[in-house]
């Protein structure tokens, strides 16, 4: 991820002042981020790892170094149920959302003017930053058994369909969470595909669908995979959709963390779950980025 984010940003200015000695001026700009993110990002996350080895005695946390929390948590059936559930749903959401977003991003990249595309991205950015929680509540009302969709369907004599508190409900929530971002990332990557190459494929008699899968997808691979990775990260960590739309049956890892944390002094156990989640996400993200930048054979 590091290399990727760095390469997205423009190269530093070539003003001949690179690698100058570190003075007061340079430090003034460099230090604020270092201090804040160290004290309140690096340290808390490291502390979380340490906390997973603490002990709980008489309902009080005692600093220590014991693997007992890890052993206990990993021997629980409900932990693994939650793990497979979370991983499975996030993987499913990643595939479904990537596939469903693709035609939309394709249309935005190739069938619309530059201006229309800019406005589309403008409107996609808004919901990405707009209260996810309220949107999920609205979805709850929309897909409930007596909700809007079933109300509409009853006019044509269908339903009611049970959608709330099912895996389908969770998936709707993940889509609400990830769809705008995935469409934006896919659109950016496809809009940058060299039109001449597509033109050339058509001239050589390559059909439309074949052009999409043999020319456009490989060329836009990095952006498509980055979109999928973000989709996986967001779905994997989300607790709102599986709880309020999926009915928490079975709970996901995030719900497990909340229940364990809010029920008292069981923070070390929550820390075990949290560290497991971070390691999983790191492995998935690195595997995906490695695939994205692998040279074709």
């Amino acid at each position: 991820m590091t290399n990727d984010t760095a390469s997205v940003l423009p190269k530093p200015a070539a003003t001949g002042v690179e690698r100058e000695p570190l003075g007061l001026y340079a430090l003034t700009w460099r230090v604020p981020l270092l201090i804040w993110q160290f004290l309140f990002f690096v340290v808390p996350l490291s502390f979380l790892v340490y906390l997973s080895f603490w002990l709980v005695k008489n309902y009080r946390m005692v600093p220590g170094f014991d693997v007992v929390n890890w052993v206990k948590m990993y021997s629980k059936g409900y932990f693994w149920d939650a793990y497979y559930m979370t991983f499975g749903m996030a993987a499913l959401a990643t595939v479904v959302i990537t596939v469903l977003a693709f035609p939309c991003s394709y249309a935005l990249s190739f069938k619309m003017s530059e201006t229309a595309r800019r406005w589309a991205v403008f409107f996609l950015i808004i919901p990405f930053f707009t209260s996810y929680l309220v949107r999920i509540y609205a979805w709850q009302v929309i897909i409930a058994e007596n909700g809007v969709i079933n109300g509409l369907l009853s006019y044509i004599g269908l339903g009611p369909f049970i959608m709330l508190n099912t895996k389908f409900g969770t998936l709707i929530g993940y889509m609400a969470l990830c769809m705008p971002l995935v469409v934006i990332l896919q659109t950016f990557s496809m809009a940058n595909v060299d039109r001449n190459l597509i033109e050339a494929a058509h001239n050589l008699g390559c059909g439309r669908l074949r052009t999409v899968f043999t020319v456009i997808v490989p060329l836009a691979k990095v952006g498509l995979i980055i979109g999928a990775v973000f989709c996986f990260i967001l779905s994997f960590g989300d607790f709102v959709s599986p709880y309020y739309l999926g009915g928490s049956k079975p709970p996901t890892l995030s719900i497990l963390i909340i229940d364990t944390t809010k029920s008292g002094q069981q923070w070390p156990k929550s820390a075990v779950v949290a560290v497991t989640m971070i390691v999983t996400l790191l492995v998935v993200a690195f595997a995906a980025v490695a695939t994205a930048y692998r040279k074709p054979k």
Binding site: A14, V17, A26, A138, F236, A271, A274
Partner: protein, 266 residues
């Protein structure tokens, strides 16, 4: 050619459907907030302002508004300052460990909110700083700084680096060049970053829920209503939250867009 046309039409409809899916809950929550039914469905009930009246007269909501305003205003200033510093550092300097520096600057949004919340709660209560309004501020600055940095960095990328050098050649000190060249150039992005980070902080519910203790912000109040007796009050509060954060995000984007066009034209 007929196939071409029908594919083009299909794709347009498809884009429309995706946008409907994305905006449906926002519109729905707006409509339901004026709807008399406790459990809204089709056909709609009658028009009412009842839900707005109940939240207007609820002191808990007003407390939450106060907490939210204090938090998001403070977060926007601090995180935009730190984000600006980091963006300028990335723009101007190359140094050993810069990739690690950038990772530190950009990674926080990729950590799941629940984990951030737990880590913050555990650490802040360890050092005796959890359960206050400033606990929320501390955590939100961590999460918002990357957005501020990205926005300012995009703007700085549009600046001709020789402008700063020209100021030095004309005798300006580094500080003077900063205040009369860099800051004025980056100003739209700075305001934009302030709006964006205010919106992110204003909407954030998970980490705030973990660390806030009794100082509930608006999203935390919504979360707690959702966990108990659900009432359409949420739609009324939600509409207020939507309008606030949408306005902020729109301002943030417009500031960046218009200036970008001017820069292109120049």
């Amino acid at each position: 050619m007929n196939a071409d046309r029908s594919i083009a039409i299909f794709l347009r409809i498809y884009v429309g459907v995706v946008f409907c899916f994305i905006f449906a809950p926002i519109v729905a929550s707006f409509v339901f907030s004026f709807n008399s039914d406790r459990f809204p469905t089709i056909p709609l009930g009658s028009f009412t302002l009842h839900w707005y009246e109940t939240i207007w007269s609820d002191p808990d909501v007003w407390d939450a508004v106060r907490v939210s305003l204090i938090t998001s205003a403070t977060v926007s200033v601090i995180s935009t300052f730190i984000g600006f510093c980091a963006a300028y550092t990335d723009f101007r300097y190359r140094f050993f460990g810069k990739n690690a520096y950038l990772a530190l600057a950009l990674l926080p949004p990729t950590i799941p909110l629940v984990i951030m919340g737990l880590a913050m709660l555990a650490w802040l209560s360890r050092i005796g700083m959890s359960g206050h309004i400033y606990s929320i501020i501390i955590a939100h600055v961590v999460m918002c700084t990357p957005f501020a940095m990205a926005v300012v960095r995009i703007r700085l990328a549009q600046m001709d680096p020789s402008l700063e050098a020209a100021a030095w050649n004309l005798g300006a000190s580094e500080w003077r060049a900063m205040s009369s060249v860099i800051v004025p150039f980056a100003l739209p992005a700075i305001v934009s970053a302030m709006c964006l980070t205010a919106a992110v902080s204003f909407d954030e519910f998970a980490v705030a829920w973990f660390v806030s203790g009794l100082n509930k912000s608006i999203p935390v109040v919504i979360l707690e209503i959702l966990q108990g007796q659900v009432t359409p009050q949420i739609n009324a509060i939600g509409t207020f939250v939507f309008l606030t954060s949408m306005t902020l995000v729109v301002i943030a984007q417009v500031l960046l867009m218009t200036r970008t066009r001017k820069a292109e034209a120049a």
